[in-house]
């Protein structure tokens, strides 16, 4: 197969395993491109992409914008905080106005789960979901799996634990779908209040003891504690969370194996992981950031190739 089975990237749950492999193989080539003296290819000269961010984002937006520019696409940016959304305009009206300016592809982050799916049914452009509420964040999951594959050679058969706030995390859900699809064994670990009740129905095991989880895993994906999404207290204090679910160098060194540490960023240093863990050679956090651009280039390139002239 050398074509994606989908016309939009709305979530990992809509992808097949072959789609993921194709994205990774294409990302391998783009990773080579972004390490050249001139990091740009002219493939998407005739494509215009709108980045619609209805919710704040720094790194995802930068990563997408860089990926688009390195493919030579024309890019327009839109932030909800400075827009007519505040004046009461609906999502479809906002997007249709932008599409009237001859935009081919939309990268959208939205606080409401399902916003991307809703949009894909109502507008003609190709949609990439850059995070919809606590639902999915497919490109993050793809770059996470890509980084595991890069470090450990393969994703299949590896033991991956996702630690932290599973309840509010779109990264966790997309990662679970992506890892399961590629044949990894997945556990989630965190305070019970932050583990959704349905989670085991996704084929993952639950572990509330961080030490046991780390002893089992090859990779620990540490999620950020999303203070902004926590309208009620899910755990007594950040300090207690850090003591129970934070990874320290002492804890890592006490394991009889070397596990890989990941984090989607931004890190609350000293909460999910300590500084010496974040900066250690076991951490692939900065590789994740670099791979993010290559993976997003691959996704955009492959979806753009399906936009017929």
């Amino acid at each position: 197969m050398s074509e994606l089975s989908v016309n939009h990237l709305l979530g990992i749950k809509y992808l097949k395993e072959e789609d993921i492999q194709l994205i990774f193989e294409t990302a391998d080539q783009f990773k080579e491109v972004i390490n050249r003296p001139i990091k740009k290819v002219p493939s998407l000269r005739d494509i215009t992409i709108a980045n619609l961010f209805f919710e704040n984002s720094t790194r995802t937006k930068l990563s997408f914008e860089l990926a688009e520019k390195r493919l030579s696409a024309d890019v327009i940016n839109f932030s909800a905080s400075q827009s007519s959304v505040k004046k009461g305009e609906t999502l479809i009206d906002t997007v249709n106005n932008i599409l009237s300016m001859k935009v081919d592809m939309i990268v959208m982050r939205h606080p409401n789960p399902g916003a991307g799916v809703f949009l894909s049914k109502n507008v003609s452009a190709s949609i990439i979901n850059a995070g919809d509420g606590a639902h999915e964040h497919p490109t993050q999951a793809l770059l996470d799996s890509y980084s595991i594959r890069e470090r450990l050679g393969d994703v299949a058969g590896k033991n991956v634990v996702i630690v932290g706030d599973i309840l509010h995390s779109r990264v966790a859900l997309s990662n679970i779908f992506a890892l399961k699809l590629q044949g990894a064994n997945v556990k989630v670990c965190g305070p019970k209040t932050l583990l959704p009740k349905y989670i085991e129905s996704l084929g993952v095991k639950v572990e509330t003891d961080l030490r046991k989880a780390l002893e089992w895993c090859d990779v620990a994906n540490m999620l950020r504690v999303q203070n902004e999404r926590m309208d009620i207290s899910y755990f007594p204090s950040t300090r207690e969370y850090a003591q129970q679910y934070g990874v320290t160098k002492t804890l890592l060194d006490s394991l009889d194996k070397e596990i890989v540490i990941m984090h989607p960023g931004p890190i609350n240093r000293g909460v999910e992981i300590t500084s010496d863990v974040a900066d250690s050679k076991q951490s692939i956090i900065l590789n994740q950031v670099e791979n993010g651009v290559a993976v997003r280039m691959a996704v955009i390139y492959l979806l753009a190739s399906k936009i017929k002239q």
């Binding site: 050398s2 074509e3 193989e25 294409t26 391998d28 080539q29 080579e32 491109v33 050249r36 003296p37 001139i38 990091k39 740009k40 290819v41 002219p42 493939s43 998407l44 005739d46 493919l71 390139y301 753009a304 190739s305 936009i307 017929k308 002239q309």
Partner: protein
């Protein structure tokens, strides 16, 4: 569909040696020259020429790289055929070097146009030459001509030139394939 043999294994061997000699005449010890095989099919020709130069003409230190042009093509989204990326592997500097592009068949010239753009991402070569095994001279879309050619072929557009290599296709053979159905 019908096919005829354009060149057999022995003829290909003779041509490869001639091309190698022509390269030596121009580039001497290759100290300032690099060879670049164009992906996907030019790499077999580039590897063959490199091994002839190394083993039979004892030219040492030949630098050979592979260039993928997929992302530089001008038919992205226009062609029915799905473009598949190949690996680029150039682990040397092309800045101020004499670069020889190597491809099996020169047809419309669009691949070479893409390669000329692609190589700029690696630096500014002093000079770029083109070596091809088969030059289909009447089908060019762009003003591109080879500096070294194995055989010139006058083929019409519905015909296809297929180069088979021992290492990939099990034989050294070049066919002219008529893609129209026989009546």
């Amino acid at each position: 569909m019908s096919q005829k043999i354009l060149l057999n294994s022995k003829e290909i061997g003779i041509i490869l040696h001639r091309l190698a000699c022509q390269l030596i005449e121009k580039h001497l010890d290759f100290s300032n020259t690099v060879l670049i095989g164009i992906q996907p099919r030019g790499i077999y020709l580039a590897e063959r020429l490199t091994s002839i130069l190394r083993d039979e003409y004892e030219v040492k230190n030949i630098e050979l790289g592979y260039l993928d042009i997929t992302f530089y093509r001008d038919d992205f989204r226009r062609s029915e055929k799905i473009l598949e990326a190949n690996k680029t592997n150039i682990d040397f500097v092309v800045e101020n070097k004499k670069v020889v592009f190597i491809d099996d068949v020169l047809y419309t010239g669009r691949s070479i146009r893409a390669a000329l753009t692609a190589i700029q991402s690696f630096g500014r070569p002093d000079e770029i030459e083109l070596l091809v095994l088969i030059d289909r001279r009447f089908s060019r879309h762009l003003p591109i001509q080879p500096n070294y050619r194995g055989r010139q072929v006058d083929a019409i557009n519905k015909e296809k030139v297929k180069v088979n290599w021992l290492e990939n296709d099990g034989e050294d053979m070049i066919y002219l394939i008529n893609q129209e159905k026989d009546n």
